[in-house]
């Protein structure tokens, strides 16, 4: 993985001192709260419900074992001994003290980590596929360009005060696993006539106004990635709306201008930057790419896995095809039933670091599904890895299944939330705790967001759950049929929202309709696409009072 050189180290160290100075000027009153807010946000520091929330960047999801141990140490020393992995490869700590943050940043810098631009109206952490470099269907490893984008976006002087936040995702596989259709910029690496480049997608996003992105360029040579992103960002910085934060994302600008006019503006801007100093050189690409060469794989035959049923189940759900024979990628589930999805304790972080050292070349990945991945495990080691992971509560075989829920921190922690999300996830996990049943239901993505900011990516869940506020009560709106990947689309709202205690029943009814209607080998999504939303709607609202009847019922209570 990427190792800092002199400039990377210098900038991160200088950032620590800059922030220490900013905190001290804020504490002395020299800087107002309003002046401090954007500065602390660009260091990942929010002021939240109970305490500040601190968000640490895990650029494109890559971590070394030493970095993971440092995260464990920081969570232990400055927080409550656990952290939460988000849907954008970041780690959030929910209980730090603002005055400790400069020291936390200093600890992070020792292991080449930071919290730069993990929040605020700037270019955020670049995200990619957690299986980058090992995926069997990979065309090109996206990580060198992700690192080049990280450097370019770090302290870019022109784009530090954008109309709103700006997120870039990059994918190098046939099947998009980086949600590129729903980012401000989505980059699909591809090879056309022997030349490496990207399809450039702009203006996607979830949140309050979910919109699938639009292609602004079918093919952009890789050398032009920085100058082209600068053109897009400049058009956005100049013309994006600043009068209303809810209409300030680039997706709104693309919609307002139309994709064609937006593209024309970007191309007209790019004429000036094209071929200029920002054009990437082969030497720079090679320098960065040299950090992402394949580890020292051994030549291995196929192993004979033990026949133990529980192990076989884990292998079925939690391992992934690897491009090198005899190796496999393992997902350590942070979705144990009853635990907040994505949460991990310091002890677990240490254990995971040990597993990485022993079985996976000392490297780890964080996925946008909020799990941890050991990318390079020998198949012959799987049984041992499983036993150790299981002992630490990290081997729930539910990846891609109903209880492997993607979930934001919700109203228990987050100031923005309209409703709690973790208790809903836990209640659904409790209802579907039977593994035979869970496996029979099969592949299904359930995503929960506590508000329309959509940190739980509910729009692209096969079943999406959105917390809404109705007269100060928490309710949940359900969508069906959303999906990520190449055919990414938004789920459809099934109907009026539900109270929290109804949610396990609602999900169970949806599942029942699927089980009763499915053809052999149909996944939930296949059945949904075939029969449509109505059978689900009818079942879920069967016998439920609507409109006046419901009002009358309320009166009676």
């Amino acid at each position: 993985m990427y190792k800092y050189d002199a400039i990377d180290r210098q900038l991160v160290n200088e950032r620590v001192e800059q922030f220490r100075d900013q905190v001290s000027r804020w504490q002395s009153g020299e800087m107002t709260n309003d002046e401090f807010r954007p500065l602390r946000l660009q260091n990942g520091l929010y002021v939240q419900r109970h305490a500040p929330m601190f968000r640490i960047a895990v650029p494109y999801g890559m971590l070394s074992s030493a970095q993971m141990r440092k995260l464990a140490f920081i969570a232990q020393k400055y927080d409550r001994g656990y952290g939460h992995f988000t849907t954008r490869h970041n780690l959030q700590l929910n209980w730090p003290k603002i005055e400790d943050v400069p020291d936390m940043l200093a600890h992070l810098s020792e292991v080449e980590m930071h919290a730069i631009q993990t929040s605020g109206n700037c270019i955020r952490n670049v995200t990619t596929d957690p299986f980058a470099g090992v995926a069997a269907d990979e065309i090109i490893d996206p990580r060198p360009l992700a690192e080049i984008l990280r450097q370019w976006s770090t302290f870019h002087p022109e784009f530090a005060f954008l109309p709103r936040k700006f997120k870039i995702a990059i994918s190098g596989t046939e099947e998009d696993r980086a949600v590129t259709w729903f980012h401000d910029i989505g980059l699909h690496l591809k090879v056309v006539e022997g030349q490496i480049g990207f399809t450039v997608i702009v203006g996607g996003g979830l949140g309050r106004t979910p919109i699938r992105g639009q292609i602004v360029r079918e093919f952009l040579p890789w050398q032009d990635i920085l100058s082209y992103c600068e053109a897009i960002l400049r058009v956005y910085n100049r013309f994006g709306r600043r009068d209303n934060a809810y209409k300030a994302r680039i997706k709104i600008l693309v919609q307002a201008l139309g994709a064609e006019e937006f593209t024309r503006l970007v191309e007209a801007e790019w004429v000036h930057g094209k071929g200029g100093p920002a054009t990437l050189t082969q030497a720079e690409y090679d320098r960065v790419a040299a950090h992402f060469t394949a580890p020292a794989y051994e030549t291995l035959g196929a192993g004979e896995p033990p026949a133990e049923r529980a192990f076989a189940r884990w292998v079925e759900r939690n391992t992934h095809a690897h491009k090198v024979p005899g190796y496999t990628a393992v997902t350590l589930s942070l979705k144990k039933h009853g635990i907040a999805p994505g949460d991990i304790t310091s002890e677990q972080m240490d254990l995971v670091a040990d597993l990485a050292d022993q079985y996976s070349f000392g490297e780890l990945r964080v996925s946008h599904e909020q799990n941890i991945i050991l990318a390079d495990v020998k198949q012959s080691d799987l049984y041992e890895v499983w036993q150790k992971a299981k002992a630490a509560g990290l081997a729930t075989p539910n990846i891609g299944l109903l209880t492997g829920i993607i979930c934001c921190p919700g109203g228990d922690f987050c100031d923005l939330a309209n409703a709690k999300s973790i208790p809903i996830a836990n209640a659904i996990q409790a209802r579907f705790d039977d593994l035979d049943y869970l496996f029979d239901i099969g592949e299904i993505d359930l995503n929960i967001s506590g508000c329309m900011n959509a940190c739980g990516h509910h729009h692209v869940g096969h079943i999406g759950v959105l917390g809404v506020d109705k007269n100060n009560d928490e309710f949940y709106q359900v969508t069906l049929g959303g999906r990520q990947g190449n055919e990414a689309k938004l789920g459809k709202v099934i109907g009026p929202s539900f109270a929290a205690d109804e949610m396990p029943d609602v999900v169970e009814k949806i599942i029942k309709v699927y089980l009763e209607s499915r053809h052999d080998d149909e996944r939930f999504l296949d059945t949904f696409d075939r029969i449509g939303i109505d059978p689900f709607k009818n079942r879920v609202y069967e016998g439920r009072a609507h409109g006046k009847a419901k009002a009358a019922q309320k009166e009676a209570v």
Partner: protein
């Protein structure tokens, strides 16, 4: 009164900005003597008149005003002031980059409005060379530390036209 920083030191400001008050229009406003920074609308309405009676001319650009509209006039201006009504409004950074990099503006480029210590570094990099720091802020400390929180940068910018990767040995 804002405090002017120029060439890394406190500077005396000889320029006055013309404000269009109620009842005045760009067409009818009186044009004062001296070093005046004119709003874009006044410049556009009264260009010939301003040029005939002012040797030294300044221009004020608001965030939404487009550089492209005055690209042909740049030789007239000794100073261009770019307004930051709120420091979180980042449009002025693009305006400055365009003026310096695309239109090769060589005169003084001044940041005015909500100008604070922690933005000076970015402002300098996009091409500002004078700064009207908010009144009440620590001028000495801004000059000593505000321009140098970082010793280098990755990107190409006005102050460093080569990105770091092209400067590697």
């Amino acid at each position: 009164m804002a405090q002017l920083i120029k060439n890394g030191a406190v500077a005396v400001d000889t320029w006055k900005t013309l404000n269009i008050n109620e009842g005045e229009t760009p067409e009818n406003i009186a044009l004062p003597e001296g070093d005046i920074i004119f709003p874009l609308a006044v410049w556009q309405a009264r260009k010939a008149e301003i040029v005939s009676c002012h040797k030294r001319i300044g221009l004020l650009l608001k965030p939404e005003e487009r550089v492209e509209d005055i690209a042909a006039d740049l030789d007239y201006f000794i100073v261009i002031a770019i307004d930051f009504p709120k420091f979180v409004d980042g449009r002025g950074y693009s305006t400055a980059s365009l003026l310096r990099q695309r239109y090769k503006y060589q005169g003084e480029l001044r940041a005015v409005g909500d100008v604070l210590h922690d933005q000076l570094f970015y402002m300098q990099r996009v091409g500002f060379d004078s700064y009207a720091l908010n009144d009440g802020k620590n001028l000495t400390y801004a000059i000593a530390a505000g321009f140098s929180p970082f010793g280098d940068a990755y990107q190409a910018s006005t102050s460093q036209p080569q990105p770091h990767f092209r400067r590697r040995a």
